[in-house]
């Protein structure tokens, strides 16, 4: 069964791994992924991110169908990996491995 709306079928291969509900999961996926894998996600989403956001905007936030929620979560993962891809060229910011900064609550979805 497709996780994403059919308009975004080309992003489907990324959805199982990156359509994650919470920042904690997205952060963990980022720190345990290779730069190449994150680059692939980034490159796939960036040309369509405008359309993807516009698609999600068609629904009220609290009444989004599951496939739109998955798409939104994939956009969040794009945001998450963009720092590694655009700035750091590694998983975490340089010189930050000795610390954590846990997000303990967030609005959903």
């Amino acid at each position: 069964m497709a996780l994403l709306p059919s308009e975004f079928a080309n992003l489907e291969p990324f959805a199982t791994r990156w359509s994650l509900a919470t920042e904690r999961e997205r952060w963990e996926e980022r720190v345990s992924s290779s730069i190449d894998d994150m680059q692939a996600l980034y490159d796939a989403i960036i040309p369509e991110v405008g359309e993807a956001i516009a698609y999600c905007d068609k629904f009220p936030l609290d009444e989004m169908p599951d496939d739109a929620v998955n798409l939104l979560r994939l956009i969040y993962s794009f945001v998450m990996v963009s720092f590694a891809v655009e700035l750091w060229r590694q998983q975490c910011p340089p010189d930050t491995l000795g610390t954590q900064f846990e997000r303990i609550s967030e609005p959903l979805p």
Binding site: E23, W27, I46, V49, G50, I53, A54, C56, D57, F59, L61, M64, A68, L72, I75, Y76, F78, V79, M80, S82, F83, E86, L87, W88, C92, P93, P94, D95, T96, L97, G98, T99, Q100, F101, E102, R103, I104, S105, E106, P107, P109
Partner: protein, 422 residues
């Protein structure tokens, strides 16, 4: 050449002559004895911010908060229009009254009464003891004498403050003073989309706070948050604030809007993901409409205005941003060289997915730079603890740091003085 005019005295630091301009000792950040004095003199006497009223919207809603610096945990509970605070300790035999699964972790929930997990004594939302198990077995027990121990509690602009002294020397409003009271009419209460963060760090609470009182470090520690072709120029330019203000122990720094208006910058200078989400380090680009802001948000009348960072002594800060959002920082010492840092990012409830995406970008940016700060400050603590150096020069962009360390010392010395008199 200064980019912005300095006060007539020649500098912000000299504008407040009580601060001096000499090098500063950081013995106050490595001494376990000094920390014990700070606990007594500051954390048991100053008004401390512990949360927002939106966390306890209805009668019976409560949260607990461990305040290691004051050696206690408190319960903060809503009872009608009142917000009350109590020490989280059962009057029967001292069990921590409210906790869940882990005795040393904070919790929250809704109750009609608080029931002790040990022998079942119960307390009303006003703290009174309403039930003692097998009351007849006791000897002349009058439940009226066994209410929860109250903590002074007051609310300012929806922020809940507590004070552990028997009788606070000042009311909350007196303690805050005109500069901080100036933020009162900002619509904090409407800004309920909240991203909350925490980290425990190996650094003194003041060493950690220091980095959130000056932006002198920003073009160095955080320069990597910009695209690489810009980095050299940003570091070269350095940081200057157009306005500083010191009011007793509290402080304010305002930053110019021109630094933040990413949306006005040439596109090639902006991260593609920022362009895609219309958001970034300085928050979402599409300004939230908050109506007219109270003049107290920008007392230096900086134009264009970008950010005001209000430092609430001793350990809380509110940062209000031009784009219509705010964040808070709080620094809770857990020993002389460890702390709990709590950060929150608040905005109006998102009305659409695109607004959520913008807030997500802002919240992720907040994490990226907080990680940089946190790790750097552990390194600073290590350097200070070597004890090799005991005098450190502070520049004019570090005026709030200078004031903060002086204020903590003043509080400790005043308290000693009071004790000596008594």
């Amino acid at each position: 050449m200064a980019r912005y005019p300095k006060p007539a005295a020649g500098s912000w630091t000299e504008h407040y002559p009580q601060l001096g301009t000499g090098p500063v000792s950081y013995e106050d950040s490595i001494s376990p004895e000094w920390y014990q004095q700070e606990r007594e003199a500051i954390f048991k006497r100053a008004w401390l911010q512990v949360g927002r009223v939106e966390q306890i919207p209805r009668t019976g809603r409560y949260f607990t908060k461990d305040i290691s610096a004051a050696n206690t945990s408190i319960i903060v509970v809503r009872d009608g229009d009142d917000v009350r605070a109590f020490h989280n300790v059962c009057r029967h035999r001292g069990n921590k009254l409210v906790w869940q699964d882990f005795p040393n972790e904070d919790t929250s929930g809704t109750v009609r009464q608080f029931t002790c997990k040990y022998h079942g004594w119960r307390y009303g939302l006003d703290g009174s003891c309403v039930f003692a198990q097998q009351e007849g077995e006791f000897f002349n027990l009058d439940k009226a004498d066994y209410g929860l121990v109250p903590v002074h509690c007051d609310v300012f602009a929806g922020f809940i403050f507590v004070n552990f002294s028997e009788q606070p020397a000042q009311s909350l409003r007196e303690f805050l003073g005109p500069m901080l009271l100036g933020v009162e009419d900002y619509p904090f209460g409407q800004m309920t989309d909240r991203y909350a963060f925490r980290v425990e760090c190996r650094s003194n609470w003041k060493v950690f706070s220091d980095a959130f009182m000056e932006f002198y470090h920003a073009p160095v520690v955080h320069v990597g948050q910009h695209l690489s072709p810009l980095r050299a120029a940003i570091t070269q330019m350095g940081y200057e604030a157009p306005h500083y203000q010191v009011e007793g122990a509290h402080g304010l720094v305002t930053t110019a809007g021109s630094l933040h208006r990413v949306w006005d910058m040439p596109k090639e200078n902006v991260k593609p993901a920022d362009l895609a989400t219309r958001s970034g380090l300085f928050g979402p680009w599409d300004k939230s409409d908050l109506g007219e802001l109270p003049p107290g948000i920008n007392p230096g009348k900086v134009d264009p205005w970008g950010l005001s960072s209000f430092q609430f002594f001793p350990n809380f800060a509110i940062l209000i941003w031009e784009a219509g959002w705010y964040n808070t920082h709080q620094f809770w010492p857990t020993s002389h060289n460890t702390l709990l840092f709590e950060g929150n990012v608040y905005s109006l409830p998102a009305k659409s997915a695109s607004e959520r995406v913008g807030r997500e970008m802002a919240a992720v940016s907040f994490k990226e730079y907080s990680l940089q700060d946190a790790n750097t400050l552990e390194a600073t603590q290590l350097g200070l603890e070597s004890g090799v150096i005991d005098q450190f020069p502070l520049n004019d962009q570090e005026v709030l740091v200078r004031n903060f360390h002086k204020a903590t010392a003043d509080w400790v010395h005043e308290y000693e003085h009071e004790l000596a008199k008594a």
